[in-house]
């Protein structure tokens, strides 16, 4: 269970949100909505511990959401997709999985890339891939991640309809397995069988 209590976030002099509280249980999806610059990404960064809140507390399974144990249970997909231009799609997937402590075999990695629609492009350097394909390289981790808590910043940007469907069904599968998802998106989200909780930032 992920709990946020009385969070306040400031960027410079500007206060983005104050006294924000919510609880996210197993199998629940939280969609953070709001216009550009309203603090969606800042909220996600607070939740995964990249920056500390000015006030308030974030708790994971009852303990403060910090440290290596928490990070092992977290999958974060940031605004930038952490895909190295010089490395191939396969190398990128291997390295990011190893970094997260979930190393993959070649078979698993190739299978994930094929499912995300990059079959035949596994060995191309990422710099020759299109924006949407680079995004797919980053999202391939989503297909293999075993972490219970997913924090996704705009996972659906630059993706075509088929890829959006694939991601949405993967989200549904994760939630059915008692996973938790926090995400931001400007697109209409349709995860089969799940009603997302929403937080509106302004």
């Amino acid at each position: 269970m992920l709990e946020a209590a009385h969070l306040t976030c400031q960027r410079g002099e500007r206060s983005l949100f104050t006294n924000l509280s919510f609880t996210l249980g197993a199998g629940e999806l939280l969609q953070v909505a709001g216009p550009n610059g309203s603090g969606k990404t800042s909220l996600l960064k607070l939740l995964c511990g990249l920056s500390p809140p000015v006030a308030g507390e974030i708790r994971w399974q009852g303990a403060p959401a910090r440290g290596e144990d928490f990070r092992r249970q977290l999958f974060y997909l940031g605004h930038q997709h952490a895909v190295k231009e010089e490395l191939s799609a396969l190398e990128n997937l291997h390295i990011s999985a190893e970094l997260a402590g979930e190393p993959l075999t070649d078979v698993e990695a190739l299978d994930a890339l094929a499912r995300i629609g990059l079959a035949g492009r596994e060995h191309l350097p990422a710099k020759v891939l299109s924006q949407g394909q680079k995004r797919r390289v980053a999202l391939a981790r989503l297909l293999v991640s075993k972490a219970p808590l997913w924090i996704l910043d705009e996972p659906l940007t630059a993706l075509d309809v088929a890829a959006v469907d694939l991601i949405q069904s993967r989200l549904a599968e994760h939630l059915a397995n008692q996973g938790m998802v926090v995400l931001t998106t400007h697109q209409a989200l349709q995860v089969p069988g799940v009603t997302p909780c929403r937080i509106e930032l302004d």
Binding site: C48, G49, L50, S51, P52, E68, D69, R71, R72, L74, Y76, G78, H79, Q80, H81, A82, V83, K84, E85, E86, L87, E91, I95, S96, E98, L99, A100, G101, P125
Partner: protein, 219 residues
């Protein structure tokens, strides 16, 4: 984990070979300019050789420092490293080792060849190599702290030099001093031991300090 990061950074360096070669050629050219500028006075050349090689090594290692974290910062990989379930200091250490392998070790290997232009005797060339072998990792370790502190700043490159070059002074003094001591007929052992001690000290402290600075830079 350590080997994953080292392998990854070496692979990236291999795909961007030109960056590595630029640093090495900068070192070769700067060192080679001195005999041409000073003239063929063997005694003077032998005298200035250790200092020239060391200062050139400092400047060459500066060149590649701002790339240490900048690319990972820009494409979001650094965020993933901060969120990895391993100590960040370990990841940082891996990056420093890889940085030394591609930008410090080649300088140490190249130095004896360049030292011949200064008419250094073979034994002095050996000591020059040994001193650089001990000293260049110190440059990468201290440089990493500076690179983390100036991460994401505009004009960070110049600030990085101002921050890091003064911290290089002890390595410069003991490194160049080892060869000078040998030329003066003394044992270079003392200088090399101090250089080794400095390496151990920075090796233990720098990864933690760098990791701390990176966390601040990412907030």
């Amino acid at each position: 984990m350590l080997t994953t990061i080292i392998r990854r950074d070496l692979l990236l360096a291999y795909r961007r070979r030109s960056d590595v070669l630029t640093t090495l050629f900068f070192f070769v050219i700067v060192v080679s300019l001195f005999p041409l500028g000073v003239g063929p006075e063997m005694k003077t050349l032998r005298l200035i050789a250790p200092g020239v090689v060391w200062v050139a090594a400092l400047l060459a290692s500066m060149l590649s420092l701002n790339r240490l974290f900048a690319a990972d910062y820009q494409d979001g990989t650094l965020e993933q490293m901060l969120l990895a379930p391993q100590p960040l200091a370990l990841i940082v250490l891996g990056k420093i080792v890889a940085h030394w392998l591609v930008s410090g070790l080649p300088l140490a290997l190249m130095a004896p060849v360049l030292g011949m232009q200064f008419d250094l005797p073979p034994a002095a060339l050996g000591i020059l190599f040994l001193a650089l072998l001990l000293g260049t990792p110190i440059l990468s370790l201290i440089g990493a702290i500076g690179a983390a502190l100036t991460l994401g700043l505009r004009g960070g490159g110049v600030l990085l030099s101002l921050l890091v070059l003064p911290l290089y002074i002890p390595a410069l003094i003991f490194g160049a001093g080892a060869v000078e001591a040998y030329s003066a007929g003394l044992s270079p052992e003392g200088h090399l031991s101090l250089l080794g001690a400095l390496l151990i000290l920075t090796g233990l402290a720098a990864p933690w300090v760098t990791a701390f600075a990176l966390r601040i830079a990412m907030e």
